[in-house]
Each structure stands twice: as structure tokens, then as C-alpha cells.
Symmetry: C2
Amino acid sequence: MKTIKIVKIGGNIINNEKALHSFLADFAELKGPKVLVHGGGKLASEMATKLNIPVTMIEGRRVTDAQTLDVITMVYAGKINKQIVAQLQAHNTNAVGFTGADGNTIVSVKRPAKPIDYGFAGDVITVNPEIPTLLINNDVTPVFCAITHTKNGQLLNTNADTIASEIAIGLSNNFATELYYCFEKPGVLTDVENDDSVIEHINIESYRKLKADGVIFEGMLPKLDNCFHALKNKVKTVHIGSTAMLFNSKNKHTSLQLL
Amino acid sequence: MKTIKIVKIGGNIINNEKALHSFLADFAELKGPKVLVHGGGKLASEMATKLNIPVTMIEGRRVTDAQTLDVITMVYAGKINKQIVAQLQAHNTNAVGFTGADGNTIVSVKRPAKPIDYGFAGDVITVNPEIPTLLINNDVTPVFCAITHTKNGQLLNTNADTIASEIAIGLSNNFATELYYCFEKPGVLTDVENDDSVIEHINIESYRKLKADGVIFEGMLPKLDNCFHALKNKVKTVHIGSTAMLFNSKNKHTSLQLL
């Protein structure tokens, strides 16, 4: 089986045009099949504010009313996704932009309104990897934004970390999947103030202990839960760190495994 | 060679949610390979106005400054394109949304600033039909919005009629292409006030005469020029009329041929 890299980039890259362009130039050089996944949180909030649409976050997650969903669709699938695709083309990487609606790739259900009503927020139920696989096998790099659909015509705002893990899982029958979560830190830290405190290896057992000891705290937990969900579902390796880990395997970062 | 329908829809459908949903339900039922092309003029202008970005039109064409290009990318490639894709999926038509940047499908150059500076407006120079062809051969319907790219990272606003004819030309080596321009009239009219005055057949010779006699006037000329450009470049048939012509071949409309 061919190896494929599924790379999720975070707000620290998306929100900074220079950082994004520099990252995409490097990403284009990565050899072999690859997939890029992005959100676009801050730009969506800025656009909502410009349009006088209130931005509501509960526990770090966006409440997506109908107007906000429109903004997200415009910013994620329009502005950001197409800028990324055009930049990759400039670097001779043949990219095609995707939401979960394109190719019926990611089907989700609207999250139940209780206990918290997040509005048009989607929880993934099915990944159909056929169309991305077809494109990947023809040297195309799919670029996914954080939007899915219900298959009944409704688009849904969906967590980009979840999209990345679900896509990786969906591709694992045909590829040896390597999942990379790039964010503003060099990895999972024991001391959030100290970038040198990267935990280089985490497995299910040590994760349990890190949680029990309160070393890993709230914001990190859904990300790590996503990682272990992926590992339990045939994803070969999962890595968390800065984008540098993609281009230099010796760069210190966090690698996760089951055992 | 398999027949393929390339269908361009206009503002009268895009700007009316009910009309769009009803059209897409019918379009999904069309048998055989197909491609949909859309612009989204009015919604882009509305969004620009909401964002206090001035809307400037010269001779019916939009002047696209950097801010306006962002709006167009958000509205065309985001909001409209993804709503169409999600609706088609709901009707069991497997669609994938495209700009010309996706799959490097349509490469254009920025229109010269003289005699009129239209800003980030693109004139098509190359169509690469490989990725759409691959998808079409796998029962996918590409949905194109009116945006192209320079291959140097720049997106460009591009006339949707032109996109439709260039895509049709690009697909003509592998398919028998039928190009349909749907708009608010039942066809090309001798009397713009009278919907019964449809000219059912136009060829190069009669087109020349209709122009000379002033029967066909300004707004219609670029559309018809596009049609004849397509016919001169291997597109099999071109039709202009209401969407009804797609679903009932006996519906009165304008058919174009070279001779």
C-alpha cells in the first residue's frame, strides 16, 4: 500500500497570509500522495463581524445559525479553499478543493440541540473516499475545508480536526495513512509555557495517566481523542506539532500510537 | 462518443432560491453525462454592498478590484457553488464543485488594463479537461463557477458564458458536446417585448444578417459570439432558451449551427 499524508493546518497558518504562502510552497514539495485539511476560524469571525452577524462561541465551539453558516461557507469553501488551491497550482501541485458535499465525501448529522444548541454543526456519520481516492491515484491533492453535508441538501459546519481524522480513516483501506495535526505549538506540552516540554510519545496508557494527572487539559483533549479514534480505526501514525515536523522528521514533536 | 450536456444557468435561476431548487431537482433527472456552469451576479453585488464595497459596472461587466474578487470568490465558489452541490447530492447526483483553479482546469490571463481596466478579470487561454473528464467518466457532475486562475496563484473573475463555451470546447475531444445557455427568455427574440418571437434557428450567415439589420442588439452579441466560437471549435450543438428546453426538446428555443 502507498503511504499518504493527511495534513491538517490550524489558524496560526490560515490567519497569516505570509505564513500560509510559505507553508504551501513547502507542502507542494512533499513527495507522494497527500491531502490538506483546513478550517478558517478567525477569518470567518472577522467576516461575520463585518456583516453585523453576532459571533457566539460556547466552550470554544462556534454556534452556527443560518447566517453564520453562510459566512462559513463563503470563507472556508470560497475565499480560503480557493486561495489554497490556486497557490498549490502555482507550485505545480494539482489540487482540487472539497467540502464534504463534493463527491458526497463526508456525510454528517446536525448535532442534537440538547444539551447545547450549536445550530448547523455537523457530527460525521459516513466518509465516502471513492472520489478523493480516484483523484489521489491521478496525482491530485484534495484540499478539504471544514464543511460537511447531510445528503439532504443541508451543509453543516464541522470541526476541522474531526474532518482530518475521518478522512484519514476513510482512506486507510487503500493507503497507509499518516495523519499530521499542525498547530501553533511544537507538540503536546507538559508545560504550556515551555515549548521545550514536548511529550514525544503518547500511547493510550500514558494518555490516560496524563489526563488523570491533569497534565493535558481541556483544549487538547478533543484533539487527542480524535487522534486515538483515528489510530483505533486503521490510521497508521498520528503526529502533533508545528509544520516543521512535516519537512524534517527529526524535528521534535508528539507521535501517538495505541500501545 | 458519449453525448454530454454542458448547461449554463443565469441570474434568473441563481438569484431565486425556489427557482434554483426546482431547477436542480429537474437537472438531477437529466440522463447521461452533464456539467453545470453558474455565475451569481446579483448575490455578489448584494454582498459587496453589505460590506460597503462599491459595485462598479462598465458596459454590463463588473470591475473587479481585490476586495470585489474576494467577494466573488466567497459568493460564487462558496455560497452558491456549495449550495448547488449539496442540493444535487440530495437528488442523488454526485457533484463536485470547481473553479478553474481546481484541477488546473481553466487557465486565464488578466485582461489588459487598456482600453478599460476591469481589474481582476480573466480571459481564458487554456482548458485542461483531464480531471473533469476523469470525474465525468466516474458518474460525477462537475459544477463550475465563473472563476479561473493564472497558474501563478491569482484567481480571476471570468464571464460565465465564456466558461461554459470553453469547457464545452475542452470536452469536445472526448464527448459529443451539447451546450445549453439557459436565461430568462425563451430564446433569441426578434422583438424583445414578445416572447413568441423566438428565432428557432441561427447560423453564421443569418447571424451576420440579424446583426446588420439591428435585430440582435448589444447584450445578446457576446453570448452569440461565444456560441459560434464553440461551434467553430468542435462543439456539436448550441441552444439558447429557458431551462424548459432541457427537459422537453420540443420546447421552442433558439438552436445555433454553423451552416
